[in-house]
Symmetry: C2
Subunit: 105 residues, 2 copies
DNA sequence: TTAGATGGTTAGGCATGACTTACGGTAAGT
DNA sequence: ACTTACCGTAAGTCATGCCTAACCATCTAA
């Protein structure tokens, strides 16, 4: 029951917030520059960035007045590891189901 | 902008619903049997299963009065593929950042 | 110092989500 | 046919989430 994945999953569940992260995954960007690419206001982007930051998916570095946000690989690594574990469970579960069908035949 | 991932991500974002899916990933189960493993009511589990079903993460097969829910590999495969793509983007973005630092040195 | 640019924070409204209780509907056993 | 078991759905409540508008703080440039 790895509960530390709730924040990252909830963060990527929102469409606009997921797009924000996708943009940051391509290249680091400032808040204003980021907000220009989306139809929502800048405070909304700022809140999304806070959610992504609390989820461990992005990091910030101050450059004068600009805050440059950057994607954090470790956050994604945890998600990938979790899904890989689930994937193995599902596959073995399917294998056992097939085995059951064999005995029925 | 793959928007078909919103439902699966939102489905796995909820803690109890994620635990439900984890249980189904281990082995198929009926609704009542599943509800006994959680502190919430059976209708709540039923609603969670509907969300997971709409997200393409589980499938149902009727056995008399019992509805057996089973994890669906294809749904997980899409999520894994999406995260793998993001992972590649983040890595190349990091590589370019290091390259920039090289030129500064 | 003054003016402009950049961005985090708050308050409020509107929608969505998770849960419980109560009900209806279907299949199996007597 | 009657009862029991199993499950989905509807209505209602309480909490949370996303958004905008407005305000405030900080850094830079003239």
């Amino acid at each position: 029951m790895p509960n530390h994945l709730t924040k990252p999953l909830a963060a990527l569940a929102d469409p606009t917030r997921r797009q924000v992260f996708e943009a940051l995954a391509t290249a680091p960007m400032a808040v204003g520059t980021l907000a220009q690419h989306f139809p929502v206001s800048r405070p909304a982007i700022s809140q999304h960035l806070k959610v992504l930051s609390d989820a461990g998916l992005v990091t910030v570095t101050k450059q004068g007045t600009r805050n440059i946000y950057c994607a954090e690989p470790d956050g994604l690594a945890d998600l990938r590891a979790y899904l890989d574990g689930l994937w193995q469970d599902v596959l073995t579960s399917f294998g056992e189901a097939v085995e059951q069908d064999m005995k029925h035949a």
